[in-house]
Every structure is written in structure tokens, then in C-alpha cells.
Assembly symmetry: C2
Homo-oligomer: 267 residues x 2
């Protein structure tokens, strides 16, 4: 599982406050604890007005790179910000994200084409989030076509099929599972990613829904996730699921992660 | 999910002690808390020497029936004890269990044939636990054949495919998942059951493995489980999984169970 650490996000109140007050230690600490918890990327989302977004991104990325070599996930709804922030990064990371919206891919793909940057792509387009599996697969087809046209290998794409709230769903997550299975069957090297907590919006005991959801999504083929790696129960559940799915012979990874202290009772 | 409450089992040290000391209140309380936690059956396993097993079963079953109308799951490795304990029960319950071992079915099936008793059946036989999916399905075929010959509908059977320890497995639980899917595809009315904690034997942070396992088994088709219904996180995970699998429109059951206090923070 490729862990994209989600904690440096200005829409989280404590982080928004740290950004507003330029509390460097607070940000550095978030980068450090996520690195220690085995994040593969540190997501950086400023969540500020677009006029000050790029300078805020630079401030955040610099701080992260002061304490860790873990690659950055540049997280912005603005494609222009995403590509301009690339120059702040010491090594290739992840653009988070493009979508089926035409101009996003046209801004991002040419810039990352000849690089090692990876890219998350949401299965929505200019008309919104499609309601059916077929329509989402259509958006996927367009994303893949544009990526291939630029020579971006499918292994550099993290497809986010977009899971909606469970509380308003009539068939649970069946549609999204169908989308994932079809994509992974045809393109085994592609990554499937997603946020792991939106699904439980408006429900009680959200943690349990999020954990069960993670297990089912991994079973469907999700191999990348935007999540809090310091959430020990969730991390343990991820390692357990890999072992149960036969991806961890004799539970060596599970036991190793436990011994490293990534989950289980704090020592 | 059909919950078979596992707490009245003499092999649990505190329960073994209560049985030895004939501590009636202790047993009554276990029956009551499992009923309150929505168990569909109260499993009763004496785990004593066979010479005193039947009288111990009678003592236990009488106590359970003093406090609840929830049907009994008569749990014994001895088929003879299972059928003799039927007469202690006020209403039909579950025989736990028969297996592919020839004489067990021959003792139990004729007795329950013309009743509403249900029956758990383990997919092992006189040669032990088969190593391959095909061999387990062969045992299943024999069980089904014997049940059908007695007119026992498949909906009265709870098949336990027997999950072995994850720590010694090379392919996780893939083989068992294959067995379950094949059985449920051909016989949708049959129940698939199992203990939910053996899988994590010898691993650290067992709770997380057990929970992820439960989610994956339910996804495969398990709809019955021998478990502790007072384990609130596990119960919440079960309700969450049903909603995620599309078996609980708009999460009404999930929200209802939460409001009843079956999971979430204790009030």
C-alpha cells in the first residue's frame, strides 16, 4: 500500500491556524511524524486563497524538505499551482490531482511528461461526478488516452474513482468496486487511490466505517491511499489486510511493521 | 449477519471456573449480555469430560433459558451429546457441529430431520482438514448429499469452511474465500459461518487481524459467525460492512444498531 500522508492540509483547522501564523515547527512536526509512520508521499495542501497559494505552498514544501526526504504530493485544485510548485521540490513526487476536466490534464501532463512525477486523477469531468460505473470508466478512458499520448506510463497514475457518502447510497460501494476491478484487470500496473474517510460522512462511529471500507477497497484492488499514517489502528488494518489477501507471505511485513511500532499498543 | 454468541464456553478459563463452581449467576449474566447485544443463538459448550458433559449441558441450558428466549446453539464435539441435549431446549436452535466425519452426520441428521433445528457443518472429514479448495468442496458435497437425503433444506445448514492460522499461510485466506464463493454461488440459501478469531493465532495485535478478516469473509459471502457480540468494535464493523456491501439501504440498520447502543462509545 502506497501511503500518501494527509495531515498537512490547510482545511484542517489546526493546520489552517499554523499556516496563518506561520508556525514552522507545527508543520515540520507533521512532516516528521508522517515520515516516521512510513508515508511514501507527504501531501501538502495550502487551502488558502489562490492569490497567496503558491507562496504558501513554497513555505510548506520548504519546511517539509527541511526534515524529510519523503517525496511531496502537491495538492491543489489549481493545475497551474500544481505545475508551478514542482520547482520547489527536490525530487519527483505526486501531482494531486488532475481529473477528466480537460484543461487540468492539458496543463499538467506536458510538464510531467518527461519526468518521474506521478499523478493522481479523479474520475470526474466538466459535467461533475458521473453517476454510473460506465460513465466513470469513460472518464478513465479519456485520462488514460491523454496520459498515453504524452508517454506517461500507467504505473505513474493513481486513479481515484471517487467514493460518495455511504449514508446516501442505495447499493453501498458496489459501483466503485466494479470500477476498480475493471481498471485493475485491464491495467494491473496502474495505482488505484482515494481518500479513506469521506465515505463515512454523516454517520456515527465513522472510524469503523472507514476501516471496513479500507479493507473492501484493498480487496477490490486499491493499492494507494490518502490517509493519516499516524492512525495506528488503520495502519494495522492495512497490514493485516495485505496478509489476508495473500500479499504478505507468513505475515513477515505485518510482524515487521508491528515490531517497528507502526501499530499495536504504544510502547 | 447471524450472530452465534460464543461466550458460554468452558474452555474460556473464567467460564470453566464458573462451571466447576456451579456459579449460576455468572452463566445467566453471559446469556443476558449476549441477548442484549443481539445474538441470534447462544452457544453453550461445556468443555468438560464426556462422562459429565450431558448433565453440565443441562445445567447450562436451563440457566440460559431462565433469562432469555434466544435459541441455544448446542456445542459439543460429541454428536451423541448434541442430540441428547435437544430435549433440554424449549425451542429449535443450532447443532454445533457435524462434519464430514461419517458417524456424526448419521447420529445428528436423522434426529433433526423433521424439526426446525439448524446445523453447523465443518468441512473436515475422517482424514482431517483438507489442504485444497477442491477437497473441501468434496467434503461439502458429501454433507449436502446427506442433508438432502434426510430432507434437511440447505437454509438450515451453516457451513464452516475452517480457516487456518494466517501466520503459517502462504496465500492468506484466498483458498477459503474461493470455497465460500463457490458454495454461495451454487446454494445461495445456505449459511456460511466460522469462528472469527482463530485466524490471528500467534500474531500480535490480533484484534485488527480478526476485524479485517471478518470484513473479507463477509465480502466473500459469510453470513453467520461464532463471535462475541459484546465486542463493540467488531459489531460496528459488521454493521458497517453490511452497509458497504449494499445490504443496508441508506445505512438504516447501521444507524439503528448504533442508536440501540450495540457499538460506538458507551453511553
Amino acid at each position: 500500500m502506497i501511503i500518501i500522508g494527509e495531515k498537512i492540509n490547510g482545511s484542517i483547522p489546526s493546520v489552517g491556524k499554523a499556516i496563518a501564523e506561520r508556525d514552522a515547527d507545527f508543520i515540520r512536526n507533521l512532516a516528521k511524524i508522517q515520515t516516521d509512520a512510513s508515508a511514501a508521499f507527504i501531501d501538502v495542501c495550502a487551502s488558502v486563497e489562490v492569490s497567496v497559494e503558491l507562496e504558501t505552498m513554497k513555505w510548506l514544501i520548504d519546511l517539509v524538505q527541511e526534515v524529510t526526504d519523503t517525496p511531496i504530493s502537491i495538492d491543489s485544485p489549481h493545475a497551474r499551482t500544481c505545475v508551478e510548485a514542482i520547482e520547489f521540490c527536490r525530487k519527483p513526487g505526486l501531482i494531486n490531482s488532475v481529473s477528466g476536466e480537460r484543461d487540468k490534464m492539458e496543463v499538467v501532463f506536458p510538464v510531467i511528461a518527461a519526468t518521474k512525477w506521478e499523478c493522481a486523477a479523479l474520475l470526474c469531468d466538466d459535467t461533475g461526478i458521473p453517476k454510473t460505473a460506465d460513465k466513470r470508466l469513460e472518464v478513465f478512458g479519456k485520462v488514460l488516452e491523454k496520459a498515453e499520448a504524452r508517454g506517461i506510463a500507467s504505473s505513474r497514475l493513481h486513479i481515484d474513482p471517487l467514493v460518495e457518502m455511504l449514508c446516501t447510497s442505495e447499493d453501498g460501494i458496489n459501483m466503485v468496486v466494479e470500477v476498480i476491478k475493471k481498471i485493475k484487470k485491464e491495467y494491473p500496473a496502474i495505482h488505484v487511490t482515494g481518500g479513506l474517510s469521506n465515505v463515512s460522512f454523516n454517520l456515527p462511529a465513522r472510524k469503523l466505517v472507514n476501516q471496513a471500507f479500507t479493507v473492501l477497497m484493498m480487496n477490490a484492488g486499491m493499492d494507494s491511499g490518502i490517509l493519516d499514517p499516524t492512525n495506528r489502528d488503520l495502519m494495522g488494518m492495512i497490514y493485516a489486510t495485505e496478509a489476508l489477501l495473500g500479499q504478505d507471505e507468513y505475515c513477515m511485513e505485518y510482524i515487521g511493521a508491528y515490531r517497528e511500532g507502526l501499530f499495536g499498543q504504544k510502547k
